[in-house]
Amino acid sequence: MQIPYEVSARPDTGLYNAKLGIWLFLASEVMLFGGLFSAYVFLRVGADDGYWPHGLLNVPIGFMNTLILIASSVTVVLAWASLKMRQWSKYKLYMGATIVCGVIFLVVKLSIEWPQKFVHFGAFIKKDRWEQYEVYLGNKHLAEKGLAPRPEITGHLEAIEVSASADAVKTFASDHELEVKPAEAKESGESALVVEAKHAEDGVSPRTAEKLLRLPGVKPVAFEVKLDEINADPDNPENDRPHFIPRSLSEKVAKIKYDDISSWSSFAPKHSSYFAVYFTITGLHGLHVLAGVIVFCYFFFFGEKLYRKNPEHMANRVEVGGLFWHFVDLVWIFVFPIFYLL
């Protein structure tokens, strides 16, 4: 049994089956990402003043990824055109280039952009304690200029001060390459300890900190944070607006009392609505890129047999895959400005 219009177009619709199918599928994809983007709008509009962060992403890297995806959209069209002209070797060249672009995009995402987020530390200060951290937040300065307040202190976690017996944290510390020292000034009767990294420049990863604080008998007292430039010098007018390239860490270390914090974490999805949407959308987009790369690899390595048998069918396949690829590209064209620039 042969299903009609698998390769040639149906005269009255002008489409072969798969082309119609992919357009319908893309319509549903528009609604899928539309749902996520509408969540972005909803959460951003509903966020309290100052609670939607800016300038936390690396714009040059994002821009480079944008260019890479756009380039891959061009090469996939050229791959399709080569097949239409029955030039198999050129097809291999362009399809290979497309796959390489997709892989570079994913590698940049997974090895540079995402991992950086999971080692950065951020703590939101309770609103009624902003006064005490004015020197890091600079909210008076921002208020004078009519700008949104800054509720969060960010940087790298240097050490955690806990109240616990030395035994309670000993094994954990040696398992995680941490060092435990007695705290200098005891505020309460309990024994206070400072937990820091063996090699000071590593810092403590926020994830390790979470695990530490979940140990029985360990109570958090304070965080020592090596500040981001923006919190080290908050009144500097240069820091009023976010920078496209996140500036390096300062040398300043701030101590934040645990009681003054409303929530803290790495820049993981749970950190804030912003990172929740960021990771969900870029994650889902990344899965689409991965799917595209896998399909293109199949076309690249196993396409020749079909090409020799029915070149038009092979060209159709690449066209359909290309339509999907363009859609994935288009999603990124929305993702880049709304997360990196706006």
Binding site: M1, Q2, I3, P4, Y5, R10, T13, L15, N17, A18, L20, G21, L24, F25, A27, S28, E29, M31, L32, F33, G34, G35, L36, S38, A39, F42, L43, G46, A47, D48, Y51, F124, S263, S265, A268, P269, K270, H271, S272, S273, A276, V277, F279, T280, L284
Partner: protein
């Protein structure tokens, strides 16, 4: 005459796929024929059987709940110990006074209620009405050899199957199945059964993952349906010659295609909330059990409601449109006259499909969206009743002047009209903000939408089963058993749902675990209905036994179909051998006429199949498709 051309193979009626040697050059193995099949008919039957099992399972969940509502705190008689053994101690407990096992707990009640809704909607009605009938009937009705993407079609069923497994398993994880209602409103759903040690193995997370698979299945199916209807219509099958059922499936597929993805997005987000601690739907300052919850906050529970109802309102039309389509087919065939106002019905179903996307927030009047937003959705909701009324009126008028054959299918189809009418008309007061504030979440709502879906869609499904069963199996269903199924079903289903209106208007809330015993002094005049409804539900279950017996018994011992077209129908699916083999048609199909040429004046019999070429020597006038002049009865 095509109808008598191919009756050579009736002896093999119970062996679909093995009887038409003309197509099968290579024999597929048992697994590829019956399990991992790409044949649209097999997939349709797979969807149908799975859906029927879940439909019955969802009904049994409700029977247990109805026992609890009528006899709060009393162990389920006879099988209480068994239920407790199966569903565990979170759902059932031992009566502290008598020591008898099988008292439904409040957690169990919530869980059964949530799963009843989920299973009935996403695992019962949609798989049967859309996927099963759509898969089986649509390609046959448009004269196609199969769906456009047979392998994607198989992937759709197996994705659905995985979702069925996940949903079933969720009853047996610690804490039991999802218990935050079929709507899964956060923040309640966000915190339900959340133990950080098992972020995945709990009822609500499994619900979300199951739904993501279910949605994926629907998306694959709907792409396939639309592409099939656009691309694979037989020569001559123009748009206005499509049977109305195909139109209904076409619009339904678009609703699924475009409305389901936002719920998939929302499902991913709620899974993130539960598994990774994000705050999409978790508001700032959420207090759980007296402690500030461990979420960063900043999320919006209302966002979930918007995304959920953006799906779930079109979903209501996904539930009803295939039903209307089936009823239209059955009515046209059994009144022996064309549908009244075919073109108006097609127009109405288009308008209905479009409007269904802009009415969703009428489920959310209680959230305080503001008068302007409520006003907008109130207006669109009233407008959408116009195309619905056009459809029902056209079907009602189609009965006018017909010579009606009350076959079992026709009994269910004609009953559908007043039942759906009651469901629709009781919905109109709910469209108004002011009335809805009072009736929101009462049994009035339950009565309203169950009238639409239960004696509405499910009766339409029964009509469809009685109508197309001979084509699928080659045997007729027993008529006496069908009457034993129909009449008690009609009586008892009304016995369940009519008192709900009385209770709802008196203020009985839909989620009371004890049937309102706590609020007895307020609802005293209506509380006695609980018993009546529960007894009716029990008898409704008994009334399904003749059907279940009939369904399986007739497969092997039913009366064989007299020919390929036992109902003397016009549409193309009756031109296939019975049951149709792989590839469906034994000869190329060409369509020459509209779908409902019944009782055409001057024709030599009272139906003219769509595939019958016009006679050269005699002019056959096509009936007025708008139905302005009623065709004379023959």
């Amino acid at each position: 005459m095509a109808t008598e051309a191919s009756t050579h193979d009736h002896g093999h009626g119970h062996e679909p796929g093995h009887d038409h040697g003309h197509e099968d050059h290579h024999e597929l193995g048992w697994w590829r024929t019956y399990v991992f099949s790409t044949d649209h008919k097999t997939i349709g039957i797979q969807y149908g059987l799975t859906g029927l099992v879940f439909l019955f399972f969802g009904f049994l969940l409700m029977l247990v709940m109805r026992w609890q509502l009528a006899h709060p705190g009393v162990p389920v008689p006879k099988i209480g110990w068994l239920l407790q053994a199966i569903f565990g101690d979170s759902a059932f407990m031992t009566d502290p006074q008598t020591g008898v096992k099988g008292v439904l707990t409040s957690a169990g009640y919530n869980s059964f209620g949530a799963m009843h809704g989920t299973i009935m909607v996403f695992f019962g009605i949609v798989p049967i009405a859309f996927a099963a009938f759509g898969n089986f009937v649509v390609p046959l009705q448009i004269g196609a050899p199969d769906m456009t993407f047979p392998r994607i079609n198989m992937a759709s069923y197996w994705s659905f199957f995985i979702s069925c497994v996940i949903m079933s398993v969720s009853f047996f994880v610690p804490g039991g199945a999802a218990k935050s209602g079929w709507t899964s409103y956060p923040p309640l759903a966000g915190i339900a059964d959340l133990s950080m040690d098992h972020p995945l193995m709990n009822g609500q997370t499994l619900w979300l993952i199951g739904m993501i698979f279910n949605i994926t299945a629907s998306l694959l199916g709907s792409v396939n349906f639309i592409a099939t209807i656009i691309q694979l219509r037989a020569p001559g099958m123009t748009w206005m010659r499509l049977p109305f059922f195909v139109w209904a499936q076409f619009i339904t597929a678009f609703l699924l295609l475009l409305a389901f993805p936002p719920l998939e997005a929302a499902g991913v987000m709620q899974t993130m909330d539960r598994a990774f601690g994000t705050s999409f739907f978790m508001p700032t300052g959420l207090i759980v059990n007296g402690h500030l919850a461990d979420w960063s906050g900043g999320g919006s529970p209302i966002l979930w409601q918007h995304l959920f109802w953006f799906l779930a309102h079109p979903e209501v039309y996904v539930l009803i449109l295939p039903g209307i389509g089936m009823v239209a087919e059955v009515i046209a065939c059994n009144t022996r006259k064309p549908l009244y106002g075919y073109k108006a019905m097609v127009g109405a179903i288009f308008v209905l499909g479009f409007l269904s996307f802009i009415v969703w927030a009428h489920h959310m009047y209680m959230t305080g969206m503001g008068a302007k937003v409520s006003g907008f959705f109130q207006t669109t909701t009233i407008i959408i009743s116009v195309p619905s009324v056009i459809l029902v009126t056209a079907l009602m008028l189609s009965l006018w002047g017909g010579s009606i054959r009350f076959t079992p299918a026709m009994l269910f189809a004609t009953t559908f009209l007043p039942m759906f009418g009651i469901g629709g008309l009781t919905g109109i007061p709910l469209a108004f903000n002011a009335v809805d504030l009072y009736l929101h979440d009462t049994y009035y709502i339950i009565g309203h939408f169950h009238y639409v879906v239960a004696p509405g869609t499910i009766f339409a499904i029964f009509a469809g089963i009685y109508h197309w069963y001979p084509k699928a199996t080659g045997r007729m269903l027993n008529t006496t058993l069908a009457h034993l199924h129909f009449w008690p079903s009609l009586i008892f289903i009304n016995g369940i749902f009519t008192p709900m209106f009385f209770q709802g208007m008196a203020g009985v809330h839909r989620r009371w675990y004890d049937g309102g015993a706590t609020f007895q002094q307020i609802i005293n005049p209506v509380i006695h209905w609980n018993n009546f409804m529960s007894v009716s539900a029990f008898f409704l279950a008994l009334a399904q036994l003749p059907f279940i017996f009939n369904f399986f018994w007739s497969m092997f011992a039913g009366k064989k179909v007299p020919n390929d077209n036992p109902w003397d129908a016009t549409t193309v699916e009756w031109d296939t051998p019975t049951p149709p083999g792989h590839g469906n048609f034994i000869k190329p199909i060409t369509v020459y006429r509209g779908p409902y040429e019944y009782s055409v004046p001057g024709a030599d019999k009272d139906y003219t199949p769509q595939t019958e070429p016009p006679k050269a020597d005699k002019t056959v006038t096509a009936p007025d498709l708008l139905g302005a002049t009623p065709a004379p009865a023959h």
